[in-house]
Symmetry: C4
Subunit: 194 residues, 4 copies
């Protein structure tokens, strides 16, 4: 199977999931002005989720460019990965609804989604890259190794941020936002070589 | 009419239908933690439907690669097939809302949608493949026959799982999940030759 | 401006509008089985709207293949046309909610949307085709004339069906369905030459 | 990074955001006929937002055609820009719900979204165009300068219209509509050279 078909499938899911996020944003009660201002948790959750999906979209292309063909194990991991990406609007909504109360379970579920996303994304890459199993013959080993190095800490960083929600929902959300901002800068840099 | 236009139409519907599924997932009542955990029927329904649409997407490309041109009967069957694919989020929502109660009608309606999808999908293929009516001249007959063999049991398997909902909703949902998993592995294998 | 950019814009709107229709389908009250069966007005409205958008999608490509370039008037008409296509889920929902009561205003609003769609679609085509203003130099005049002949009655047929809603909502909906079925067959035939 | 990947990402977000707008349109209370007619604020908000996103879509392609490559700063601005575009359905809904009451905060928030969109869009262009930083070597300087001239007043025009909401919500909405209509004509003209 050619990777182009997989990329089309994935691109569609990324774009739709990111744009659906806004359907979960609702103004708060009270006057119109009050409701617009006090919906800030929705805006925060929207921005973090949108940035995160946007980053994954860009990186997914860079990853797929190194890959020559896919086998059934790779395809299976990719479908599970996309299922988690498309799941994002749900924990985003729960976070938006409960962030004002500092709900730790909501912040935990939100981070858990990103952690599982990072794990399945990393699994997909390392399955392809181990022994250059699915890597294109002409792919530069330095680029391949560079991608591996940038993937390695992802799951651990998201896992740690998720655990921080047990201390404080606000701390965890601040970390999720910081990670997204870091990856916007990182992945852009990374994208330059792609 | 070229098949490329049909594939673009179909791809859009597959990606959007799969990603819209998450809008039907809602947390249950009670505390945030309780509501997140007790929304498990939504997660189950989401995962089965997402996997099923993902499988169909991949297979649709493999099928279309064997086909050279389409006529009006093929086009009509394909539109009906897509109408059923795009219908999926509705029975998925009903199943998610009622699975905790073991609602047999919901499990039946969910399976019926997949059965009708399998019938229209099979009808589309066998219409194209009979006497190689719409098959590309250079398509390998072994691949064509292989696709026919893999399609033949689809409607019967989904029909049987749907009927099992008359005994138990849980049994039926377990079967729907097992079929999706089987096809993820099967279709990937199948996709390797595509 | 090249037509490819316009087709991409249009294709996205068609696919998304058709697939969003299912979000407007809700089961009726009472038991699960009762609610599923008595949601039939939603299923009818869904099927007619899905088929109608599917037909327009296919035809739009055939039309655009005859066109070489677009100017600002053509672009303006196309944006208005797409705005009406993307509007479809709203009257579809209203029809689904009120069809059981035979609501004439809902059936009228539904048909009015299709009538306006047919008028803006026809206006777009006749603007391009008059004196072969935007027609590709190598386009066959017989195909161009054939498209013109098939477009001419569209607005009148939809207008008449819309007016029939003043007599009976059921009559009007039966006519909308019959028109969609007719165009599925017609446009497929038509598509064969495309 | 090639601009093609960025355009695909952007196109998906534009098409989905525009088509999602209809989910925010709801009929008003009372009889069906009354509810359909009195939902006019929803129709007005829908039309202005749809036209505005449609215009941006067309212009985005023209802009990207002048650009040869993107760097991380450009990518970051583009992601923020898309985040604002995808945000549009939310202030559109709030405007639709409150326009009958002439709510100034809703009209302000709606215009503020467009102002921020214009600022981020302009920032993206001027970052690329300054000293022809990211401009393709073969891009005509007259076209580049023409785009710069057409972008320059955008943020100021939207900002002024937004401020007018402090006087009257109706005035502001009339201005937003007038700006959209102006850009449909302007951008089409502009697109002709693209």
């Amino acid at each position: 199977m050619k990777t182009a078909r997989l990329e089309t499938f994935s691109d569609g899911v990324f774009a739709i999931a990111a744009t659906l996020l806004i359907l979960e944003v609702h103004r708060a009660g009270g006057s119109v002005a009050h409701g617009l201002v006090h919906a800030w948790p929705s805006y925060v959750a929207y921005a973090i989720s949108f940035l995160t999906i946007g980053i994954i979209w860009v990186n997914h292309h860079t990853v797929m460019q190194q890959i020559d063909r896919v086998d059934r194990t790779f395809l299976f991991i990719n479908v599970v990965f996309l299922m988690i990406v498309a799941f994002t609007p749900y924990p985003t909504r729960v976070l938006a609804e409960t962030l004002r109360d500092g709900s730790k379970p909501a912040a935990f579920a939100y981070g858990l989604t990103f952690t599982l996303m990072a794990i399945s994304y990393g699994a997909m890459w390392f399955y392809a890259a181990r022994g250059r199993r699915l890597i294109a013959p002409d792919a530069d080993q330095r680029v391949v190794s560079g991608i591996s190095r940038s993937f390695a800490p992802g799951s651990i960083i998201y896992g740690a941020a998720t655990l921080s929600s047990l201390v404080s929902a606000y701390l965890a959300v601040a970390l999720y936002g910081a990670i997204a901002l870091f990856y916007v800068l990182e992945s852009s840099l990374f994208g330059r070589d792609g």
